[in-house]
């Protein structure tokens, strides 16, 4: 049985699964239920000057009748009295001393406000602080949230204020609403943050009600850009995480991974790209806290199968496998093969290749079932047919190298090797 224990800058939790700063962590009632269910820790919903929320607040993107492929919110930071939140955090720490308790903060943009807030949070006994530099709706219009995270110099300044005061670990949460998360990441690491977390939500319009013509979520006939999250954003988050894991400056600090994590597989992927802990929100907002059971069991079983005794045996293991395109091996060549015994003759591989790729699949008419075969000399090994095929392992990509040696594009050009003639 693999050991899921996580030590994040000295913040210990029985597993790497934390609840992200969000509605599920905005009060003791929820958090207590989550920790009873088995969550490793929580990032308490962002505290700051008390605000007022609107109704409605959420909207979602469904895909092929599956609900909530993507999720969007225009909810602001905690709308509960600060003192009440602090009292409940203290109580939670007393009830669950073995779980990670991190408190998300978004103070007004001055040194005194940040110092005052940090003092109050540290007074509860919380284990860490997460700086919300990412919220892309509402708070950013007031110069906070993503407005801070989008400008490396402002972010650096705020982190410097924070580090003057903080005595517990500080995690800076990055916004993805930038061309690259690295500049802000670098600035805050240089300013002394102890760790990073990413990604926060992505500004979005999830859709429009085609009867009323009002975009959602609808607040009295109007909407506003919301923060997008959920399974749809996972690939974007993984890419941003990779850039942080590969940069010499930002890779010095541990990272808590966030962005569409719904299953243990998602979590393993974030950890393989460098995350020490992972944070979950949308999946529990859809299914409740009970999903923690499979998150832990699935990760543990996979680790056993792979021979990983602890999470530290695989954190970051896939980072070196992502290189620049320039370094890829041009001599590597794969060709699709359709297993005729498994083929169900749906024709999806054919039409995808014929209409949009390289016309590399031959159709032999049959009634009612056509036969599809790969034209091996035409196939460029793009994977498209395999991706659209509904049958597992029906289409496989087989290796037929163009040459024995590793050969990248730079070297290819240097040698004056020929380009395609069509």
């Amino acid at each position: 049985m693999a050991d899921l224990t996580t030590n994040f800058l000295g913040i210990r939790s029985p597993n790497p699964f934390w609840l992200a700063s969000a509605p599920p962590t905005d009060k003791l009632l929820n958090v207590q239920r989550a920790l009873e269910a088995g969550w490793g820790g929580v990032v308490w919903k962002t505290l700051g000057a008390q605000i007022k929320n609107v109704s409605s607040r959420y909207s979602a993107v469904d895909y092929n009748n599956q609900r909530v492929m993507g999720f969007n919110n225009i909810e602001l930071i905690s709308d509960r009295p600060l003192e009440l939140n602090l009292r409940e955090i203290r109580e939670c720490l007393r009830l669950f001393p073995d779980r990670a308790m991190i408190v998300s903060l978004m103070a007004d943009n001055d040194r005194a406000s940040w110092h005052e807030m940090i003092a109050k949070v540290e007074d509860t006994g919380a284990h860490g602080i997460e700086l919300n530099f990412g919220c892309p709706h509402g708070m950013n219009e007031r110069g906070m949230g993503s407005a801070v995270g989008q400008d490396p110099e402002i972010a650096r300044m705020v982190v410097e204020w924070v580090m003057e005061k903080a005595t517990i670990p500080v995690i800076t949460k990055l916004t993805p609403n930038v061309h690259s998360v690295v500049p802000t990441g670098k600035a805050v690491v240089q300013a002394g943050t102890n760790a990073l977390s990413l990604i926060n939500t992505i500004q979005s319009v999830t859709g429009i009600d085609l009867d009323t013509l009002i975009p959602n979520p609808n607040v009295a006939g109007h909407s506003a850009f919301g923060g997008y999250c959920g399974p749809a954003v996972k690939p974007i988050a993984l890419k941003m995480l990779t850039t942080i894991s590969q940069d010499p400056v930002t890779s010095r600090v541990p990272v808590s991974g966030i962005g569409g994590i719904s299953t243990w597989k998602d979590a393993a992927e974030f950890m393989l790209l460098g995350a020490t802990s992972v944070q979950v929100c949308t999946a529990v907002m859809k299914y409740g806290f009970r999903i923690i059971e499979d998150l832990c069991e699935g990760l543990s079983n996979w680790m056993d199968e792979k021979g990983f005794a602890t999470i530290y045996d695989f954190i970051g293991k896939s980072v070196p496998a992502i290189t620049k395109w320039e370094a890829l091996d041009i001599n590597y060549h794969i060709i699709a093969n359709i297993n005729q015994d498994k083929c169900v003759h749906c024709g999806l591989c054919y039409i995808a290749c014929e209409d949009t790729s390289h016309q590399s699949i031959a159709l032999s008419y049959g009634k009612p079932y056509n036969t599809y075969t790969v034209k091996t000399e035409e196939c460029v090994g793009c994977n498209l047919c395999k991706l659209v095929c509904p049958v597992e392992d029906c289409i496989t990509m087989e290796e037929h190298r163009k040459g024995d040696e590793y050969l990248n594009w730079t070297e290819y050009q240097k040698r004056g090797l020929p380009l395609n003639d069509h």
Binding site: N64, H345, C346, Y369, P390
Partner: protein
């Protein structure tokens, strides 16, 4: 009790003849199924539909909440797509070809989805087609069955005025008069005919029978072309002793009575034998049981290997409690006081395969006797040979002969459907009507 009508309570009739293919309860249920469709390219389901309905397209349209588009896609290929969704033997057509079968998964419920879209079209009276400007041409169609209605709809869309001559008091043909009521209700059939004619340009004249009220020669005087879709009608005789005894009826008449007179009015025996194992035999056997018969035995000359009905249909009969006597052929119907009392059958065996691989049933010499008080003949139907002969149409054993342009031997007279092919599915007749319309348009130099 022997043969009697009015055997059941109103509630029991209602229950026994309620729809066996209930529709989707709601939009969500339809969407779950629609989203299961893989959207195959050059899809096997399309190729397995005689009318080539673009099934993946209409299912995708349901999935995108474009139900109007879905209905249009269906009706463009098959104007009786609503009725066909209820009566088609889909397990041997579209659903039988669904690629999910090859994955050993339940095929897409194509018929149910088709019904979802077409029901909405009929309920909402969606007008999905507009007629092209009038061409000034007029065409007569004989028979308001699937072939005739399909032909008329295509012609009307192209700007031709169509008059349909129908011998019955209602349109729909076998859909209305020859199919079990729990598959498609009389009310639905009427609504479907009304929906088809709501396009405009199609007038149906009822109680007009070819050879009695009208003649081909007269129609040719008035119309630019004539399409014959008169179907088949006469039940095949068994040619055995006792066929005239009281209690012997034919499946077509039996089902016609159920459809036209109402369930309580139709008499049925305690012990019923049904001769034959086609779709009509199944419809007769199951409905005899549902009308209150205590025992129903289907008599079939061959084995399950050769049976013309689908397995799904056979299962339906078995679930209704009907028995099947395989390898049995009726030899003599015996009676008492002019009433059926026994059915004497030959025990058959299959011969060695002939050149075409077909194994004929031959008597073994053994016989057995069934105690029955009613015999329903469902050994197929024969074409109107006398009628087509009289109208001077070239034919083979009553089946009207047509060339590759659906044309008969009489210039300007076209034909299709059961009267040409001897009797196939509704969906085949719909396609025949489309083909006939295309041929007529070409003949009239419109397309």
């Amino acid at each position: 009790m022997a043969i009697a009508n009015n055997r059941l309570s109103a509630e029991a009739y209602e229950q026994h003849f309620s729809d066996i293919h209930p529709p989707f309860e709601n939009r969500e249920a339809a969407l779950v199924e629609a989203n299961r469709c893989l959207f195959c390219y050059d899809a096997p389901c399309i190729k397995s539909c005689p009318t080539s309905i673009n099934v993946p397209k209409f299912i995708k349209q349901i999935a995108t909440d474009n139900v109007k588009g879905a209905a249009h896609t269906i009706f463009l290929s098959n104007i009786m797509g609503g009725g066909c969704s209820k009566v088609c033997p889909v397990e041997k057509l579209c659903e039988g070809a669904c690629v999910y079968n090859l994955m050993h998964e339940t095929p897409i419920h194509i018929a149910k989805l088709q019904r979802y879209a077409t029901d909405k079209a009929l309920e909402g009276q969606w007008q999905l087609f507009t007629r092209k400007p009038a061409t000034g041409k007029k065409v007569a169609v004989i028979g308001a069955g699937p072939a005739g209605l399909s032909c008329a709809h295509v012609l009307s869309r192209e700007g031709i005025d169509v008059t349909i001559y129908e011998k019955e008091a209602k349109g729909g043909g076998l859909m209305t008069y020859g199919i079990a009521a729990y598959k498609v209700t009389p009310a639905y059939c009427e609504a479907e005919v009304d929906y088809i004619t709501s396009l405009g340009g199609i007038q149906i004249l009822y109680n007009q029978e070819l050879g009695r009220d009208i003649t081909l020669a007269a129609l040719q005087q008035t119309y630019d072309a004539v399409y014959i879709g008169i179907g088949v009608g006469i039940a095949r005789q068994l040619e055995i002793p006792g066929e005239t005894l009281a209690g012997v009826t034919d499946a077509i008449g039996f089902i016609y009575d159920i459809r036209s007179k109402g369930y309580p009015a139709v008499p049925v025996g305690d012990k019923v034998a049904v001769i034959g194992l086609g779709m009509t035999a199944i419809d007769a056997a199951t409905q005899a049981k549902r009308l209150g018969a205590k025992e129903v035995t289907i008599i079939y000359r061959r084995t399950q290997e050769e049976m013309p009905c689908t397995t799904a249909e056979l299962d339906l009969a078995k679930l209704d409690g009907c028995q099947v006597q395989w390898l049995a052929a009726p030899k003599e119907i015996k009676g008492q006081n002019g009433q059926v009392s026994q059915l004497l059958c030959d025990v058959m065996q299959l011969s060695a395969p002939d050149a075409s691989g077909r194994r004929s049933p031959i008597p073994t010499g053994n016989t057995f006797t069934l105690e029955v008080d009613m015999v329903i003949k469902a050994a197929g139907q024969t074409p109107f040979e006398m009628l087509v002969q009289q109208e001077q149409l070239a034919h083979r054993h009553g089946r009207i002969l047509i060339n590759e342009h659906c044309a008969t031997n009489i210039p300007g007279v076209f034909a299709g459907g059961d009267c040409v092919n001897g009797g196939k599915e509704v969906v085949d007749a719909v396609q025949a009507g489309k083909d006939g319309a295309a041929a007529i348009l070409k003949f009239l130099s419109i397309q």
